[in-house]
Amino acid sequence: MKRPVLRVVGLSALGLVLLAGFVLLMVRSGPLAPVRVTTAVVERGAFENAVFGVGTVEAERSYAIGPTVPGRVLAVHVDVGSEVSAGQLLAEMDPVELDARLSASRAAAARAVHALAAARAQVRDAAVRQDLAGRNARRYASLGEQAFFSDAAVEAKRQEADSAGAQLQASRAQLDAARMDVERLEAERAAAERQRANVRLVAPVAGVVTARDAEPGTTLVAGQSVLRMVDPASVRVRTRIDQGRAGGVRAGQTASILLRSRPGLTLPGRVARVELNGDAVTEERIVQVVFDEAPKDFAFGELAEVTIATTRGGDVLAVPGAAVHKYAGRRGVWTVADGRADFVPVRTGETSLDGRVVVLEGLHAGDRIVVHSERELGAGDRVSPVESLAEAGR
């Protein structure tokens, strides 16, 4: 009789242990278990913020070089990447009929100079004639008074003298006209020369050629470019900053620039200008950031990540951003007291790039708050603080 009793006791004990395990499993997992959370203590401290934006490397001063009149490209002397100096000949347009027009202009101008000389001679001739006629008239007049000549003869001489005076005036006017003609034709010649010179496309400043848009033989209309060049001294990153965070950005703030072509290498820079115009469609603000020292090797249009240091606060109450939740229509954080979660509405300020949020009111230094939670919390939920939830796996 002893063995069956032992067996009953043994089996009952085993059953009880298994049942206890089962109950424990049910309570420790699933919806009945307390929510595991990680917590943090609210502290006052320094708060440094920065804003982040994505930009492209651009040159502020870029030049499209092309003809001012329609024409055909004759030669292009430089290629993409060439460094050029100010005034260097970059390309030439086909002058077509400009040379012939220029020589016509020159001939016309030379002819005008001769015409001017002829006009001068005529003036001199007229002056001499007028002088002689004047003297004759005066002589006749005085002799006429003494009745050597008839009145008719005296008047004929005075008329001669008057005509000679008029002719002198006419030839002087012609001289003026000839002078004007010279000026006009000189100007026309200069215009033709300028036009001729204009087919030579020269660099306006020292810089780098970035595009070669036309090849010899291409016909262009006015306004199309043959070459494009930039002034590498004006390289900057045209950065787009989200409007919601752009408020603290000012000219002169330091920035770090990360070029896409060189991951891992941040270049120092600073904000050169915060543009007044924002982008209404993308809801971004444009900020120009310049390099402290322009990099040697980069590409225009290259993507760059820009981080601009903005505010620095000394004695600020900040909490991890993951702790701020929206519950029942209000923003706030969950505090932990006696193993239960309690919701405290807070008013928050700016968010830093490392995810910390400034708390303006609602919390005090020393409060213990929930940062991460295993699932969404409700008021009065039982919580059990743990070191980390990340290792909890699925």
Binding site: V221, G329, G355, A390, R394
Partner: protein, 397 residues
């Protein structure tokens, strides 16, 4: 009063317990199946809960953004924000895609949302929220990504800054949250080859690349690569306003489709997962029938195994009620062991399922009741056999 059932079980306890364990595994499968169905429904609902929206404004005549594609201009939210009863409105994009992680592709739903607006993950289990407007992601732990890891989505590399749990799409794919502008680019901007081809195609079109109109081609090319669309606008209704009324206003005046939470749940639960749910329900019924049949067979063979003992019992004048009670008790005991084992194994193996398995306490209670009823019914056949045993068998042979 001694327990006949107990005595008999003690006699063959190993056989009895192992039969119970076998039955338990079967019940575990049945419970897991129910859990899978609950998990599917919960996946659909978690998507709605995590978005934090009261109304989804989507493209007209679509069931978007989860059940059908929907495409809106991303400035639509401003028009909605100005309507009465709207507390918050924000753009979101949803795109199911493969994300490259080292050698492995992970299937995820990429959600583009704006920080601090509806559409953000409501809670994190590690790390922080997205603080930059580009190149940061918050991923669900199911993706297998770790904090600080860099993952590639389309043309950019992103850093994983935070982890969530139970943020899944209606089909159970883990979610990856990224800044809206990056998500728009990932979804609507073409890949480089396509852009280059498209440029060449446009440049070859004489109507678009006209001589004498410098700048026209550039303008057309620039307009082709803009990505200014989103999939939906999430709307949060101000307190004191009816969601249905606000949705009606959006439908009427903004010419968009608008769904309230109840309607969206209807779309997700009854339209999107209906077939899968029916499939699982059918399977569940079959499993229940199989379990009942197995219990019934086991009890029946156990009874047949002790015909001689039953005949002896009858011979010494044991009442039929007592014999029937013994078999019923054994059957119920088997069910109880099976249920405990089943519930335990279901709880233990649930996390290893590729899809979410949600074991509700209510389902467990229902399962217990069903198991007991099935065992009671299954014992009927055995009881009938036991009662028919001829006492003479005890002496004869």
């Amino acid at each position: 009063m001694i327990s006949l059932a107990g005595r008999d079980i003690l006699h063959h306890w190993a056989k009895y317990v192992f039969t119970g364990v076998g039955l338990g595994l079967l019940i575990g499968v049945t419970l897991s199946m129910a859990g899978i169905y609950r998990g599917m429904v919960d996946d659909a609902q978690v998507l709605l809960r995590s978005s934090g929206a009261d109304i989804w404004a989507v493209q007209q005549e679509t069931l978007g953004p989860y059940a059908e594609p929907s495409n809106l201009r991303d400035d639509a939210y401003r028009a909605i924000l100005g309507m009465p009863g709207v507390a918050e409105a924000s753009n979101v994009t949803y795109l199911t895609m493969q994300v490259r992680q080292g050698e492995r592709d992970v299937r995820v739903m990429a959600v583009g949302s704006e920080p601090g607006r509806p559409g953000e993950p409501p809670f994190l289990v590690a790390g922080r929220r997205i603080a930059r407007s580009h190149y940061e992601v918050v991923a669900d732990v199911r993706t297998g990504f770790r904090l600080g890891e860099r993952v590639r989505i389309r043309r950019h590399e992103y850093e994983v800054v935070g982890l969530t749990r139970r943020m899944v799409s209606s089909s159970g794919d883990p979610m990856v949250f990224l800044p809206l502008k990056d998500a728009q680019e990932a979804q609507f901007l073409k890949d480089n080859d396509a852009i280059v081809n498209e440029r060449a195609r446009t440049a070859a079109n004489p109507a678009l690349n006209r001589p004498g109109v410098p700048g026209l081609l550039d303008a057309i090319l620039a307009s082709q690569t803009a990505s200014r669309s989103v999939n939906a606008v999430l709307v949060r209704v101000a307190s004191g306003h009816e969601a249905e009324q606000v949705a009606e206003n959006i439908r009427r005046w903004k010419h968009l489709e608008a769904y309230t939470r109840a309607q969206m749940e209807e779309i997700l639960v009854s339209k999107l997962i209906e077939t899968s749910a029916r499939q699982i329900a059918t399977f569940l019924v079959i499993l229940a029938i199989v379990s009942a049949a197995i219990v019934s067979f086991i009890i029946y063979t156990m009874t047949l195994g002790k015909v001689r003992e039953l005949a002896v019992l009858k011979l010494i004048g044991t009442r039929n009620r007592t014999i029937a009670a013994m078999i019923l008790q054994q059957s119920l005991g088997l069910g109880l062991i099976g249920f405990v084992i089943g519930k335990t194994v279901a709880t233990l193996w649930a996390p290893y399922f590729p899809k979410y398995v949600l074991l509700l306490p209510g389902d467990a209670v229902r399962g217990l009741v069903a198991t007991m009823v099935v065992c009671a019914i299954a014992s009927l056949l055995a009881i009938r056999v036991a009662l028919k045993v001829d006492p003479a068998t005890a002496i004869g042979g």
